[in-house]
């Protein structure tokens, strides 16, 4: 198994108008996605947003109500999961508990009658790639969480599929392991070059390892793009309120007579405000600072995280978070003002972004 894996244009995914209904509930309202070969593509969203359903439809594990699934140009919507040349790592890993690690990894090869010698080589290569080659004789029950996850990965890799599907593979690991494994996953994918679709609810995870991200909200794709683009220009207030740690602060505001009215303060900004009307103001915690003038606020709580500080401020009854590297000279209960260097504006009713 060489690094470089699948040739350059294999593993192109197209989802066209995927609708999924469950009785009277609509889980997916028409999903369209195009994924390039070799891409690490994340499906990000809160629970129930439809990202896992979309993944399972891609795998062929769930029927859809309407729409098409295309892999490398051919329509696979009707094809069985085993016939799509797709490998999946489940959130629970779904390792076969009665088989050794070796047999688990070898299983997909056995199922297509791969000759023993070739299979053995492939299994050992896959195991070595994820560093579990010393555990081949053990059973899943004897492995740690991280080792089980690698075993599931090896089972997926060994078949050299044209598409990897990962369903929240890191959510069962503890925080430290999650961070380490995240990096390894990314490097592994780069080495193998296989198109990967990755489902997660952890926006930090998606933003750091994916080439592109599709943000799911309530069964719809709210935005697709590179992580830095989504971060810089969230397409809607909902997306904006989901991305970032801590996420963007959202405040009700109004554009009137060329000024932005927020919590009783009129602000004149260095950016076009658009037409008069109700809007939502979005400001990143890192863009806020304590200033002599600006929006009135009261310090509610100071969270000292060591190298950064998060200040929770009460702005007109709503909690707004400010993030800074230098500990500001304030105490809880102080009345202050906050200003910001840059901001985002969204329509109040539709949530759509107001351009600039």
């Amino acid at each position: 198994m060489s690094a470089g894996g699948a040739p350059g244009d294999v593993g192109r995914v197209s989802l066209r108008g995927i609708v999924k209904r469950h009785g009277t509930v609509t889980a997916l309202h028409g999903v369209d996605l195009d994924i390039e070969p070799g891409e690490f593509f994340a499906l990000l969203g809160p629970s129930g947003s439809g990202k896992t359903t979309t993944l399972r439809i891609l795998a062929g594990l769930e029927p859809l109500s309407s729409g098409r699934v295309l892999l490398d140009g051919s329509d696979v919507t009707d094809r069985e999961p085993g016939e799509r040349d797709v490998a999946m790592v489940f959130q629970s890993y779904a390792l076969y508990p009665h088989m050794t690690v070796y047999d688990n990894i070898a299983f997909p090869l056995r199922m297509v009658a791969t000759p023993g010698v070739d299979a053995d080589r492939a299994v050992r290569e896959a195991a070595a790639l994820v560093h579990i080659d010393h555990l081949l004789a053990r059973r899943p029950g004897q492995l740690s969480g991280g080792q089980q996850q690698r075993c599931a990965l090896a089972r997926a890799i060994v078949r050299k599929p044209r598409l990897f599907l990962l369903d929240e593979p890191l959510s069962n690991l503890d925080a430290k392991l999650r961070l380490e494994t995240r990096v390894e996953l990314r490097k592994l994918q780069r080495a193998l070059g296989v198109t990967t679709v990755y489902v997660t609810h952890d926006q930090e995870e998606a933003m750091t390892i994916a080439d592109r991200v599709a943000v799911f909200m309530e069964g719809r794709v709210a935005q697709v793009g590179r992580p830095q683009d989504i971060f810089a220009k969230p397409a809607s207030a909902v997306v904006a309120g989901f991305i970032g740690s801590p996420p963007m602060n959202l405040l009700p505001a109004e554009v009137r007579a060329g000024a932005l009215r927020v919590v009783g303060a009129d602000l004149r900004l260095n950016r076009p405000l658009g037409a008069d009307g109700l809007v939502t103001l979005g400001v990143r915690p890192a863009a806020l600072r304590i200033a002599p003038t600006g929006i009135p606020a009261r310090v509610y709580l100071i969270e000292d995280l060591g190298d950064t500080t998060i200040v929770d401020l009460d702005v007109g009854g709503q909690i707004v978070k400010l993030r800074t590297d230098q500990r500001p000279d304030v105490r809880e209960g102080d009345n202050v003002h906050v200003a910001f260097a840059e901001c985002h504006l969204f329509e109040r009713d539709s949530g759509a972004r107001r351009g600039e």
Binding site: A59, E80, G82, M88, A94
Partner: protein
């Protein structure tokens, strides 16, 4: 209440509890132990009053029961064949059926499930009359084939319900992973699912065998001189004139030896099976 009073009150309570528990142990275990003792006595010793605990043990009863004119050995053979084969057949039919009910998109699943449950409700005495008449017509009375097939009636629904609960315990992703690994449904069942319900199959086998071995009504009505399980042969030792006590005890011990052994060896399995069967509904024992 002083501290020492509290301690002694608690000790008294524990002693009382232990005493009651011991009494219960006696009530349940004693009759079997008594039967065992009796089987080693001579007929005369048995009828002695007050009953003797110390006596001259003899193996004559067992000798008669095994090798005498009314030997139980052919009956043991009958029981083994009938119980063994019907258990095997039951498993063969019930395990796949339970999988279909538990995990697959079986058309008419709810109705089928209900039907299986309903067949367990039928009182056996209601079935033996038609069985008797039907078997008589086709010459199936007093045959192994006839009895074995009839035994399926009560074993199948029970086995299906037990296995359904075991199948339901396996995470759904097992099949999904196997399907993605290109196993197909049949191989997924064989290579991935079945090995994981091995324990359940063992428990089901035990219960089905136990029930079949202990069956009496069907055996006595539908069997005859050729096919005569031990449960029926027990009556050899009781007639209008006399009861051959010690021989009866020996015969009963012999007849029940397999199931007692099974019970002792597989106690944990049995207890687990009872509670599983109880939770998921249905069961003949």
């Amino acid at each position: 209440m002083s501290a020492s009073n509290l301690v002694s009150a608690r000790r008294l309570r524990t002693a009382l509890l232990v005493a009651v528990a011991a009494l219960l142990l006696a009530v349940w275990a004693f009759p079997v132990i008594w039967a065992l003792l009796t089987s080693f006595k001579t007929e005369r010793d048995v009828l002695a009053y007050p009953p003797t605990v110390i006596f001259e043990p003899t193996l004559s009863n067992y000798r008669d029961v095994m090798f005498g004119s009314a030997s139980l050995l052919p009956n043991l053979l009958s029981s083994t064949i009938v119980a063994g084969v019907s258990t095997l057949l039951t498993l063969l039919f019930a395990v796949p059926a339970a999988y279909a009910l538990a995990r697959l998109d079986l058309p008419g699943k709810r109705a089928s499930g209900f039907y299986v449950l309903a067949t367990q409700m039928l009182p056996p005495v209601g079935l033996i009359i038609p069985y008797y008449l039907m078997l008589q017509k086709i010459g199936g009375l007093d045959t192994y084939g006839g009895l074995i097939v009839i035994y399926l009636t009560f074993s199948l629904p029970f086995a299906i319900w037990l296995m359904v609960s075991y199948f339901e315990d396996i995470p759904r992703e097992m099949e999904e992973a196997a399907l993605l690994d290109r196993a197909g449904r049949l191989r997924a069942l064989w290579y991935v699912i079945l090995p994981q319900v091995r324990g359940g199959i063992a428990v089901t086998t035990i219960f089905v065998f136990l029930n079949a071995w202990n069956e009496f009504l069907f055996a006595v009505v539908l069997g005859g001189n050729r096919v005569r399980p031990v449960t029926v042969a027990m009556f050899n030792f009781i007639s209008v004139e006399q009861t051959l006590w010690a021989k009866l005890a020996a015969g009963a011990m012999l007849a029940m030896a397999p199931v007692i052994l099974l019970g002792l060896l597989a106690q944990r399995h049995i207890v687990k099976g009872l509670t599983v069967g109880a939770v998921k509904g249905g069961g003949r024992t």
